[in-house]
Symmetry: C2
Subunit: 413 residues, 2 copies
């Protein structure tokens, strides 16, 4: 496992800052703060799978959501106390017990009670210029479903994760690596199913995997895997997994893998002699997440914005690998560096493949196709770093692969 060291005294927690995902326990085993309490009637569903009238909901015809409404109305709740913290906790209504179904999140626990599945509609504001979900949307939905997995477990405390055993040992989760493969991007309005589950990673680590599928065709759009380690909150060093923690989380582990990876190759470190460099990137207040840290999705945005727009218009990301090195403070100024792999420029024979016949260059140009077949590399190496006085501080290394867009949703305005 990659050894990850962070100097003591850095302001923010590595785990929470490195990636939006770190806002929750990826183990499905978040801590319960005993100070928090659930409102009078939780909508928990018995693990036996038996029907529970309090939470069961019929969505039939126009009667639809009224069942839910009625169930919600049964929860005693003081209207006058909405600015109070306990009232806020009641509004959040985080379950204290494991649930098998959440009708609001459209989530279910499947496969023997460890794997989570959620149905999601791609929203109008989650798509890019070509009407398909953006990579940012994909990453956001991975975060959301992982967190909802923990939510369903009945063990979610305040959203920052860590089991009781981890808390007793002053341990937190840190994400060290993430690999997302996108075969196809879902379209605006499309209904997808997202599965997520966890497994062991070596002796001391944990893996969280995801699959995003079309609900209609069952075609797999996206596969993703991530690796997590435990860090001591005080020493800022990686830690072994204590036995009591292993006992807590291992019942959730399954072997299934979303991504079959070959021997992992470390991503080369770039310097600022690279072809594309964006400097002076500064996080805004609106880029911060609930941990007051720059969100992981912002990192990826900074990475990808360093590639010229002309390339982005005609290509879609098919793979991204992220290797997290250290936290950056929200007051840091970040540099995004990107180097194309010149050997990854595709050969010329795919115009014929696409159209079935060869087209004269002037025709291609006239119909706007030429841009599509520009000689762009399709593999890039990335680095986000903080420029230091003596030494630059790496935040995350990345590697992306791209393919040309073969099909563009027409712009009918």
């Amino acid at each position: 496992m990659h050894r990850l060291r962070v100097p003591q005294g850095t302001r923010s927690l590595l785990s929470l800052q490195l990636i939006g995902l770190a806002s929750f326990s990826p183990s499905g085993m978040a801590s319960i703060s005993r100070a928090l309490h659930c409102p009078a009637k939780c909508c928990s569903v018995k693990e036996s799978g038996g029907s529970n009238k309090k939470s069961s909901v019929a969505v039939n015809g126009s009667g639809s959501l009224h069942g839910l409404k009625a169930a919600a109305a049964e929860v005693a709740y003081p209207l006058s106390a909405v600015t109070d913290k306990n009232a806020a906790i009641a509004r959040q209504n985080i379950p204290r017990e494991k649930q098998l179904v959440d009708p609001f999140r459209q989530g279910v626990i499947i496969d023997g009670g460890v794997r989570y599945r959620q149905t999601v509609v791609i929203r109008s504001y989650e798509i890019g210029p070509d009407k398909t979900a953006t990579l940012e949307t994909i990453l956001n939905l991975l975060q959301e479903t992982a967190l909802n997995h923990v939510w369903m477990s009945g063990l979610l405390g305040d959203g920052f994760g860590a089991t009781h055993g981890m808390m007793r040992n002053d341990l937190i989760w840190v994400v060290t690596r993430m690999h997302v493969l996108v075969d196809e991007y879902p379209i605006w309005g499309e209904v997808v199913e997202i599965d997520t589950w966890v497994g062991a990673s070596g002796k001391n680590g944990m893996r969280r995997d995801w699959l995003i599928r079309s609900r209609l065709t069952e075609r797999v759009f996206c596969r993703a895997t991530s690796t997590w380690a435990m860090m001591n909150q005080e020493t800022r060093r990686l830690s072994k997994m204590p036995e009591e923690v292993r006992d807590e989380i291992s019942p959730w582990f399954i072997e299934t893998r979303a991504v079959q990876e070959e021997a992992l190759k470390k991503i080369d470190k770039l310097d600022d002699n690279a072809k594309y460099v964006n400097s002076d990137l500064k996080p805004k207040w609106s880029d911060l997440d609930m941990n007051h840290h720059v969100n992981n999705v912002k990192y990826v945005r900074w990475m990808l914005e360093t590639i010229p727009d002309q390339f982005m218009e005609n290509h879609q990301l098919s793979s991204i690998i992220l290797e997290y090195r250290r936290e950056c403070d929200s007051s840091d100024t970040v540099q995004s560096i990107c180097e194309p792999d010149e050997e990854s420029i595709p050969r010329d024979n795919n115009i014929r493949f696409l159209t079935g016949f060869s087209l004269a260059p002037e025709f291609l140009d006239g119909s706007g196709l030429l841009g599509t077949f520009d000689k762009w590399p399709t593999r890039y190496t990335h680095l986000l770093q903080v420029k230091g006085e003596k030494k630059d501080k790496e935040i995350v290394r990345g590697k992306t692969s791209w393919k040309k867009k073969m099909f563009k949703f027409s712009n009918c305005d």
Copy 2:
């Protein structure tokens, strides 16, 4: 009504660029492109409200979503054709007929078949540093629900809106004004209900209103209203509403208002002598929506980022009014200007009000409270403009009101 003129030949459509909302018809009356077709079995629900077995879904206990799954599996769909446009349309599955229930979107048509209601869970990536939904999330959800209202109507064509009568008259919708009031921001994980409907605005305009409510307490978090006009796509001038268009859309109009507005006062125009100025704002590829225009939410982000972070940390927006003037091209460089209303600095007596007793300044400072009670103005005027060689081109004027955060969700990391 405000007279809105846009020079002929500008590249993008005003309506589509001005606001993310403009990606759809706000009338609930989008056009149907006859070239598009629905897949074999649409999940439409009869308007009578009767149960339709194809689309009805039981979400009871662990059986939950399998009903939906089974329904989806009945739709014949060629797996091999996923890169084909018609296949993409099938995947989107836009209904051809009016629906009263959409189980995936958790939406229902209520109040005599004209008002739309959707249940939404606030997601982990939609919240800000204080664990509540951001204003951007609110605006995104207004867009999403308005669009889903049209989606449910069975009249949505390609998402860019306009009734058949409007298309015959070469008319498109433009949003001229928007007013959003937020009493309280929903919390991460909170379940909210969003209602939206349309009404007449003067002789030739349309109004779209929204209400966002807590599903648990029924407390209204947010009220919003917007005004729309019709513009001739060729002349770029505002148009009267043709009779045939009135006949199409007026059956959807209701009188109910989400916001009771007094006589509307035009927002003052700022110049760049204002207190806060951010120049050289450039849209990135990732800021563009499906119309290849800068999304309205990006506008609001640019507006609010001009206010210092120190203010943003301790205040929440309670009202925003936006007056749209003209489009900006995605290649334009934008300037964001902001002027505080110095008369809106609150009096000092609310520390006592909050705590019940007076606190010494050093105590307030030590506990971080002092920043909360800084002497910041609570009203701001905004302008986004494109700097022109001869004349600056206004994009949107804005006015915001803020209140101090009375309750902060603790950061427990």
